[in-house]
Amino acid sequence: MTAHSVQRPHALSIENLSLEFPTYAGAIKALDGVTIKVGNAEIVGLVGESGCGKSVSTMAATRLLPEGRYKITQGSIRLFGRDPMAMDEEELQQVRGKLVSTIFQEPMNALNPTIRIGQQLVSVIRRHEALGRKAAEAVAVNILADMLIPEPARIMQAYPFELSGGMRQRVLIAMAFSCNPGLIIADEPTTALDVTVQAAILRLIQGRARRTGTSVVFISHNIAVVSQICDRLYIMYAGRIVESGPTRAVLDRPQHPYTRALLRCLPERVRPKEPLESIPGTVPNLLDPPPGCFYRPRCPEADTRCMEKPHETALPGGQAVSCWQRAGHPSLPSSEVPS
């Protein structure tokens, strides 16, 4: 007990979580035994293709999934040691924005189009901090300036439609950081943006998080983007974590066949005009997933053992992989991805 109180709890700890969405056609098993740990002041990346459960796991953690439309079949979630599933609406409102805040992909949908930027920022700040209007405005202008927004005082008076996409996303990041949360969930924050703007936004998120010691969960389908700012990565496939570990280790020595295929799909690693490696087949139907390893039907290394669900094997260097082919070989084979 004393050991627990000395050690600070994880910012986010998702333990063996399984979650389904009941439909008339049956239950869609969106998450199956997902374990994600985000330490304090750690930037963690969540990578996978669309529909693999990246957003669902973080939305479950902030209770943003539609109430009553989903069922948690096993596992637990802890946000700074507290269970969001046990909170009532009032507590949740205290937690969201103050303890945890989310940056969504599409900034136009996340801002109210009929209210000025300044007012939206001030109302977020005043909800969580005991500040007067003037003081909250000063905080808002400061944080906008911190996000490299030129003329923050003028932007405070602007409506969302007057700003460009990159500018709107910066406003949302400012809003997310405005109450100094302990954890920020960035759900594909740069997917809708250009590379030049993306570079600026990634730098802002990383710089601010490092300065204030904020933990970040960075969700993206683009492994190259994630590799830029994350300390650790989780690779997801069809609602399961297939591989995790420190960013450089996962990229340099990918262990799971899916991770390797994902890296080989990138044009960066192939000579021009050569065919790119693609993954045959499609993602399994989560209404009726195949037995054993979900990646088995597409995996070139699959054998009979793969008919059973693989358990997670810890490897030296903090990497972990869920694959039978690696289960018997704790030593790391060298990289098979041409660099």
Binding site: D194, V195, Q198, R203, P267, E268
Partner: protein, 331 residues
Amino acid sequence: MKAAPLLSVENLTVRFPGATNWYGRVTSQVHAVNNVDLCVLPGESLGIVGESGCGKSTLVQAVIGLVGLTSGRVLVDGHDFAGANGTLKRDLRQKMQIVFQDPQSSLDPRLPVWRLITEPLHIRGGMPTAALRARAEELAISVGLRSDQLDRLPHEFSGGQRQRIAIARALSTDPELLILDEPTSALDVSVQAQIINLLLKLQRELGLSYLFISHDVSLVRHFCDRVAVMYLGQIVETGTAEAVFDDPAHPYTRTLLASVPSLKNSLLDVDASLTGELPNNRRLPAGCYYRERCGSAVPGCELPQALLTVRKAGAEKASPHQARCHLHIPA
């Protein structure tokens, strides 16, 4: 020996009315495309890269006739496309087809696949239904669909398969040039790889030319023979893919390349001040369009810039490496 260009665009300018006054007269204009020259040779791929809003899509829509030209000419096989009439126009039109970014909205949700694929032939007329269906089957198989999928509707397919349907439809009139407007940016990387492989295979088999628009620099480098970098409706640098990407001459190209996230190097080395946004295109800046964001702007940049050949040993004559910068500072 240089083949005649399949498509050549000369001095193309597109402007849209931006605002009108009380009388309905246009008071300001959006300068979407400004004096663009480019050509596509038979069997080659030309990539166009640039930020969103730089005019890439408007340029190709003007080429294919979806947007009116303000001035300039588009020549297809040496014939003026905009000025053509009757059968000549129809024949020229069938030499070019376009694949859009979002297959969800570019396919009619109520038509079965075989009708979608043969829609251009149906419009052209003169083919009986049985022949159309046979052609649809042939095309579907060539893009990797199965013949038992021909009677399904678009919503039954995944994003990658829908893009295959869009490609099959574009191929139905036996075009020589395919315009690909961000064909893979709505897809996952593994599916993107399948579509890119399909396009490369079709190019080898049918000798197609591609005009490929993308904001993904690494994809363009992989896919294209030549590239043109656009900024504010203008081509700022053009040349072979290797020349432009390995030894960029224009400061904008260098910023763009440095901002591309890569597994090898860290983004955080890029200078923060350079990663800005496009200026307003209602009023074009005098002189170099990139001057305000440029880290190496000097006196002389306030003058209009021309596309100059980058003086460099071993440059190919057929497609010179040109940049719209009077400095040509080596990287």
